[in-house]
């Protein structure tokens, strides 16, 4: 069994406009030491999936069903419907998270040292001096110069990239087996993004942890992930090893997404031509169609045997078209 197995996860938010199906039957697994990227646009359900796993969604607002089993030592723990107290034992200890905006994600009133020490203390019954030493060790590891002095500083005294390093140090203080990184570099400049991605790669190598990388940036994914799940309208629409996905996308949405990115590496002459955009808008999560949610924007549906009407009426299953490469599409095989 894998380190974490998510099976048929559903997250629904009842609203006055209707039921929002934010996550609609998501199934995936991640192994130790692996980096799994979850790619999607805003509203695709990539963030909600992970907040649901971590029990960070308000129980009053969200309806969660399905299963997510994580290995904890020798025992298997079902995360969905886990009691609050037990979930807290896992959060920050076995699974840690970092977020998009490192400024607003750190508490402005406490020194970074206090915040990291607190993260260590809550899961370890040790003297505060031990936690402090551990905090300095981690700050050092993530590349904060002069860590034993800087530990007293407050978040606003750091630059964006340094704050994200602090967040990473805080997440890793209890040596988690899984790190969930939710758009960790989106708020950062490209040169700083490169620093942070390099750091995450090195830390993973050293600590052998699994990483779930949530992002909208297919460029970041290409250099960082082992496996990719592409999400659209609450569903995984394609799942493949990273090289397979880029070389041979099987789902029209992935195909369109890759084609719509302006590429810097393309040679002269090509850059002048129009970008091949995906027409239309992502669907509303309240009135999802019975069939494939991408049909209204799909340019391949007429090539499906049975025609576009088949795509509109029946939801394709996530099928293994090539070994290890799954896609949710009625199109036969790799014919994009």
């Amino acid at each position: 069994m894998s380190f974490l197995e998510v099976n048929d996860l559903h997250v629904e938010f009842p609203t006055s406009d209707g039921l929002v199906k934010a996550v609609d039957g998501v199934t995936f697994a991640i192994e130790r030491g692996e980096t799994l990227a979850i790619v999607g646009e805003s509203g695709s359900g990539k963030t909600v999936t992970n907040l649901a796993l971590m029990g960070l969604l308000s129980k009053r607002a969200a309806r969660i069903s399905g299963s997510a089993v994580i290995k904890r030592g020798d025992e298997d723990v079902e995360l969905i419907d886990l009691a609050d107290e037990e979930m807290r034992q896992i959060r920050g200890k076995n699974v840690a998270m970092i977020f998009q905006d490192p400024m607003s994600s750190l508490h402005p009133y406490y020194s970074i040292g206090d915040q990291i020490i607190e993260a260590h203390q809550v899961h370890n019954d040790v003297d505060e001096r031990v936690s402090k030493a551990r905090a300095i060790e981690l700050l050092d590891m993530v590349g904060i110069p002069d860590a034993s002095e800087r530990i007293k500083a407050f978040p606003h005294q750091f630059s964006g990239g340094m704050r994200q390093r602090v967040m990473i140090a805080m997440a890793l203080v209890n040596s988690p087996e899984l790190l969930i990184a939710d758009e960790p570099t989106t708020a950062l400049d490209v040169t700083v993004q490169a620093q942070i991605l390099k750091l995450l790669r090195e830390l993973q190598e050293e600590l052998k942890m699994a990483i779930i990388l949530i992002t909208h940036d297919l460029g970041v994914v290409a250099g960082a992930a082992d496996r990719v799940n592409v999400m659209y309208a609450g569903k995984i629409v394609e799942s493949a090893p990273v090289r397979d996905l880029y070389a041979n996308p099987l789902m029209p949405y992935t195909h369109g997404l890759l084609a719509s990115i302006p590429r810097m590496d393309r040679r002269a002459g090509e850059s002048g031509k129009r970008l091949s955009a995906i027409a239309g808008q992502p669907p509303s999560l309240i009135a999802l169609p019975a069939g494939c949610a991408f049909v209204p924007r799909c340019t391949f549906s007429n090539r499906v045997s049975g025609g576009a009407s088949r795509c509109e009426s029946s939801m394709p299953a996530l099928t293994e078209h090539v070994p290890g490469h799954f896609a949710r599409c009625h199109l036969e095989g790799a014919s994009l």
């Binding site: 400049d189 040169t191 490169a194 810097m264 040679r267 955009a277």
Partner: protein
Amino acid sequence: MSEEPILEVSNLQKFFPITSNSIFARVKGENKAVNGISFTLRRGETLGLVGESGCGKSTAGRTILKLYEPTSGAIRFNGEEITNYSTRKMKPLRTKMQIIFQDPYSSLNPRHSVGEIIGAAFTIHGLASIGGDGATGSSGRSATKRLVQDLMERVGLNPEHYNRYPHEFSGGQRQRIGIARALALKPEFIVCDEPVSALDVSIQAQVVNLLDDLKDDFGLSYLFIAHDLSVVQHISDRVAVMYLGKIVELAPTEEIYQRPHHPYTKALLSAIPIPDPVLESSREQIVLSGDLPSPANPPTGCVFNTRCWKAQPRCFSEEPVLQVVDKSEVACHYPE
């Protein structure tokens, strides 16, 4: 594109005072957001202005439109020096110079309908008479409505949505509203200030394509400000790279992406992740160390000397000026 310049900027500076927090505000220093930039924009050309946050690119765009009062330097628009024009003298020129903002959420008044937002330009500048009637009376109003609906159609919005409010539109559609508003007065020059950064990837391509089409149809010249170098590459004829309030390199697009001469340009380009796992793994990346220095206290000599891997003593004492290297202009003593 003609050789005739539409915009000439020479040695433009914009400093913001840094005041201490007391009743008698004391100027403690100056944030040198734009610290002496010069460039020319030709009629029909798109000049990309790129750099990381804090480099002064947005301030430059707004100062050129006189939304900020320039500290020193000169701005010539259509040969007319507008540097010291009053608000009143600027008003007739405002129809010719427009801006499209980054955030399509905060830049549209939520209490005005789309028709009112786009049509306001006609009313403010008393131009509803374009339709043949005065700005008042029902015939004037219907003329305005027709003009607005034509524009909406042109930017890819449904003209029947004339009476809808901004919150009823998605991010991409809102950006189209912003574009229609900018186009309403038939401008010659538009500052596009990060027009696609807030949009999802699949929507970005739509808006970039639209901007590209409109440029030809309306005979526009763009100053295209962005941090995303891939988008800039796609749409620009020439690109200027800014760092800490200065232009460090200015070159034709092909040239700058194929043969970057300034070390910063080189590092910036190499930091951009390419959506291709095979290329990514083999590519050599220059990861810059450290952070951007404070624009209130820029380094003496070359502004990039604190992070440059090839800095020599001369770089710390003598400020490099833009000089011609091949087809580029580079501000570096030791260009690549």
